[in-house]
Every structure is written in structure tokens, then in C-alpha cells.
Amino acid sequence: MAAQTRTVQTGAGPVAHRLADGSGPETVITVSGLVKQYGDIEAVRGIDFTVARGETFGFLGPNGAGKSTTIKILCTLANATGGTAVVAGYDAATERDAVRRNIGLVFQDTTLDTYLTAEQNLRFHAELYGVPKAAVMPRMRQVMDMVGLWDRKDSLVSTYSGGMQRRLEIARGLLHAPHVLFLDEPTVGLDPQTRSSIWTYINDLKSREDITIFLTTHYMDEAEHCDRIAIIDHGKIVAIDTPEALKASVGKDRVQIHTADDQRAIAELAAKFGIEAAVHDGAVTFSVAAGEQFVPRLFTEFSIPIRSVSVSRPSLDDVFMSYTGTTIRDAEGGAGNEFMRNMAKLRSGRR
């Protein structure tokens, strides 16, 4: 996918000081031994990874896992307590301006001035980033066309819907033709339909721009859009690979059954089949190879009445579970979700 992206580029990239313009796998982000502490809380606990040019790299994890903190360090908005981060060839701690010139940012919370029109917001950005005057108008039109907002450019942003605002932010993040686009939870707080339309735009821009995308998400289905993903839990990377490879590494199918007595069912599964099961998302859950062949056996040999059964191929949910021992919904604590999110926000602080 990444390779295709590069081959269709006609207008090459902007002048880069340390990024050669030729194609080929180059490293755009290098993170080593990154640590971030907020007082006693260790938000990021020593992570290492690299992102290649043209790649779409996803950070997947529950809220409060350290995703946003990492992105803030990469974007020069926070100082690391330890370790280094090199973005587009520049050190995020010591060469802030150079990093900032080469990255585009879309935050979780909107950072638009809603009292200005869309065009005024973009113009503000262009001037602040020193986009050459002659290029401002055509480039502005290009990025706004890309997200389908050109005909609404003169509307006040306050009249935009949540999805339109997010699209405008993506357009703005691309305005100065950055090498890396950071998307922090690009679809959080949007309805499912709008979420999928945002992804249409993101996938579309990958085919138009010579760009590396770094995103964070806690939606499993969105991680499927990435070339590679890193699963982060409690400030540490527990797995990093392509979605396919990660799913293949799990191998087994996931079976979920609803029974009259879950505890007895778990005990019986262990005794009769030697299977380790646990209750996740309100159902007895376990993994077996060839699930569809296992289920008939289960029905004949099981003594506890089964109300319903479902078998699923390994998904990223299973990957997440096999590496962290919990589902992402469990990790976020169901009803406590909002609370966790607020805690995460509190911890990351607003600047």
C-alpha cells in the first residue's frame, strides 16, 4: 500500500533537509527508550519503535494507556523524561521548530477557532507556518477539495458539524505539506457513519500525498486501516506488526457461549476439554483451533445448558486479548469509560 502511494506521486515532496526525496524504505520516526513521568505516574514506560516513510502506523490501546502522551512528545508538546524521539530527521526535544515544520497535527479535541470561517482558519495556519504566499490559495483549495469542504469555505466553523470540523482539521494539518501527519484519535466522539467517512478521506489522502501517518485509536476496526500497529498497554508496547500478522499469531478462533451457570461452565471446560476460559463482555470466552468443528462436540458432551454460541475468526480484539489478557472494553472498564477518559485528559493536561 505504502509503495503504491509513492509511485503515484508526481510533485515529489517539499524540500527536506534530511529526508531524501527518492523512494525506498526510509525511517521517518525513530523512538528509543522513551519514558514520560507525571509526578509518580509513569505514563510511558520505555518504548521503542520505528515508522517507515509512507507507512500508516497505528497506536492501539485503551484510554490512558500512554498513546496521547507519546504523540505529544513526538509533536514537541511535551518533554520526555527519558529516551529520544527523532521525527522527520530531527530530534523532537532539541530541534523543535524543524520538527514542527515537518509535521501536521490533528488533535482529539478540536483546535479550530469556531468564530472564524473555514478559510480564515486555514489562512491563519498558512501564515503561521510560513507557507509561501503564492502557494497559499491553490494549496488551500486542494486540501479543502480533498475533504469536500471547498464550497463551505466561507461558513463560520461554528456552523460545521463535528465530522466537518474534523475534516477541516485534517485539511489544515496537511496545508503546509508535512512529511508526517499525526492523528490523535481522529474519530473519537463521532457517530459510526461519520467515522467511516473520515476514514474514506484518510485513505484517499494516502493516495494523493507523499505522507506518513501516525495515528492513535482505541477502536479495533479502525486499526485495520493501518499498515502496522503497535499495541500499547500500561505505557508499554506489547506487540507490534501488521494487522494480518498479529491476527495470524493468535491462530485460534474465539468462541463465546452464554450458559445458565458461567462458573460451572468454566470449570467443566477445563475438566473435559482442557480449555482455559474466562468471562469477557458478559460471556464465557475461550480460544480453540477450528472452532466450527469444536462447537458440535461441545453440544453433545457439555452438561450445562447453552443458551447461545458464537464463533469468530481472530480479530484484533483477540490479538489485544492474547497480549494483554483482557479485552479493550474491559480495560476501559465499561461504565467507567467516561471516568477513565477524563482521568486521561486530566493527566495529559491542557496546554
Binding site: 515544520r101 483546535t111 503561521l128 469536500g148
Partner: protein
């Protein structure tokens, strides 16, 4: 959905097949020109925001209005007794320069409050991740606040006739210059506070608390003569004193009154600012205000350069 993005190709001129040419954009290294553009756009945003907020423009003028016409008229009788030629001199004329300073006071400081607002609504982040010097952002903000506030002051200048102050071009230009200086420094003060304070309510409460003492101590409402020692010291510590004094001097030197009256009112109502008997010259007076503005701009820039 994607179709919308395909339909109207922007720079479709040199388009090759389905692939749209990407506009070549190369963001230059930081330099003075880039910083100036940043100053310019931050300044322009202030003006745009102000233009769309007419209510703010009107409400900001209410207070000086009250002071000039209600307080000014009401206190005329009371104040008249202490004046040498009470009949020929209106108290409104006396407080006009001070109230003029007041007309920019609130607007300037509160325009900096938009930083706190921007922080709460996230826009500040967009500004702070930009590859420009923090100083250019702060300077742009201060110039924006100064422009808006001075504009308010100019509206108030139009009312000079009601205070028997003539529309003399030299006088008007001089006053506008001083208003600009004053409001730049006041905005810088506000920005410095806003860099630290994260809640809008706290910002309003704190600045409100500081603004009134500054105004009262500046000699805007009473002449700085024959005051008790403690009050004299306090008035000399108030930066507003160093701009209200020169403004009043300028106004009084352009009044249409006989020479001997002019000499009397200057001596009694517009005495020069002194430090233990030493007369502070005009350039130093204005220099103090300018230096404070620049100093506070520096503090604010440093404050915004900090990261977590």
C-alpha cells in the same frame, strides 16, 4: 463521499490522468520574514474577532461614558470650590484625559483574556505547535489588543467637544500615539497574566481586581498634588500615572483659555510628575511605560516557551 473530493480539481491545469498534481509547498526555515507574517496574522485575527463582536465594542464604551457625563457632571459643583477660576473651568475637562485612558484600559487587558479562552477551547494549541517564535505570537497579540483598544479610544476622542477639548490635529495625533503605547503595555500585562492563569473566571477576577487600583492611583480622577506621603508613593509606583500625566499636559496645553488661566490650571490641576522633587521629563515618563510593555512581552514569551 470520495466523489466530492474528485469533482472540482483545484489546480487541474497540469493534471496528468486521475492523479492530481500535488502543490509544491516548501516551508522555509524560520526567519524574520516568517516571524513578521506570524505577527501579522495573529494581529489580523484579533481584528476579525473584534469586528464580529459588536456588543463588546459598545459595552466597553459604557463605563467611560458614565464617568465623563454622570460622574463628571455630578462632581463639577463639588470640585469647583477648589479651582482658582471655577466658573471658567469644567470638571469634565479635567477628568477627560483620565477617562480617555480608561476607555482603553478594560478593552486592552480583556483582549488578552482571549488567550485563556483559546486555551479552554483548544485553539491555543494550534498556535503553540507552530514553528514560529513565541515572541512573535505575543507581539501580534499585544498589537492586536492595542489596535482594538485604541480604536475604542478614538471613538471616545470624538466626544472631546463635550468636555470643551478642541479638535486640534496635533493634540489628537499626540493622544492617539499615547493611547497606542498605553494599550500595548496593558495588553502585554494581560497576556503575561493569561500565560499563567488557566481559567477564564480566575483571569477576569484577578484583572478586575488589579485594574481599579491602577486606575484610581493614576491621578485620572484627581490631581496629584497635596496628597499624603503614602498615597504619593503609591501613585508614583503606578505605571498608569506616567501616561495619564502626559496626556493631561497635552490636553491642557491646547485648551482655548486665556494665558493666565492656563498657567493657573496647569499649576493646580496638571502638575508635573516628580520623584522627591525631581521633575520626571516627558521622554522618561513615556519610556517607563514602553519599557514595561516590552519587559512584560518578554516575560509572556518566556512563559509560553515552557513545555510539560
Amino acid at each position: 463521499m470520495t466523489m466530492a473530493t474528485q469533482t472540482s480539481s483545484p489546480v487541474a491545469a497540469g493534471e496528468a490522468g486521475a492523479v492530481v498534481d500535488r502543490i509544491r509547498v516548501s516551508v522555509p526555515d524560520r526567519g524574520l520574514r516568517h516571524d513578521l507574517r506570524a505577527v501579522g496574522i495573529v494581529w489580523r485575527r484579533e481584528l476579525i474577532r473584534f469586528r464580529t463582536d459588536r456588543l463588546r465594542a459598545i459595552t466597553a464604551l459604557v463605563q467611560p461614558f458614565l464617568f465623563l457625563f454622570i460622574l463628571g457632571t455630578g462632581l463639577s459643583n463639588l470640585a469647583g470650590g477648589s479651582l482658582p477660576h471655577s466658573a471658567s473651568f469644567d470638571f469634565k475637562t479635567f477628568i477627560y484625559p483620565g477617562v480617555l485612558a480608561m476607555s482603553v484600559l478594560f478593552t486592552a487587558i480583556f483582549s488578552a483574556g482571549s488567550i485563556v479562552w483559546d486555551r479552554e477551547f483548544g485553539f491555543l494549541r494550534e498556535i503553540l505547535v507552530a514553528p514560529v517564535s513565541r515572541a512573535s505570537i505575543v507581539v501580534g497579540k499585544c498589537l492586536g489588543g492595542a489596535t482594538i483598544a485604541t480604536f475604542q479610544g478614538v471613538i471616545f476622542l470624538c466626544l472631546a467637544w463635550f468636555a470643551h477639548v478642541p479638535y486640534n490635529p496635533v493634540l489628537i495625533l499626540g493622544l492617539i500615539g499615547m493611547l497606542l503605547l498605553l494599550s500595548f503595555t496593558l495588553t502585554a500585562f494581560g497576556v503575561m497574566m493569561a500565560a499563567r492563569i488557566k481559567q477564564f473566571q480566575a483571569f477576569m477576577a484577578l484583572t478586575q481586581m488589579l485594574v481599579l487600583p491602577l486606575f484610581f492611583l493614576s491621578g485620572a480622577l484627581y490631581p496629584l498634588v497635596g496628597l499624603p506621603a503614602w498615597l504619593t508613593v503609591l501613585t508614583r509606583l503606578d505605571p498608569l500615572t506616567y501616561i495619564v500625566g502626559p496626556m493631561r499636559h497635552l490636553v491642557f496645553s491646547h485648551l482655548n483659555v486665556p494665558a493666565h488661566v492656563s498657567a493657573l490650571i496647569n499649576a493646580h490641576l496638571a502638575p508635573s510628575i516628580t520623584w522627591g522633587g525631581w521633575v520626571v521629563p516627558l521622554w522618561l515618563s513615556l519610556g517607563i511605560v514602553a519599557a514595561m510593555g516590552i519587559g512584560m512581552t518578554g516575560v509572556a514569551s518566556a512563559e509560553f516557551s515552557k513545555t510539560e
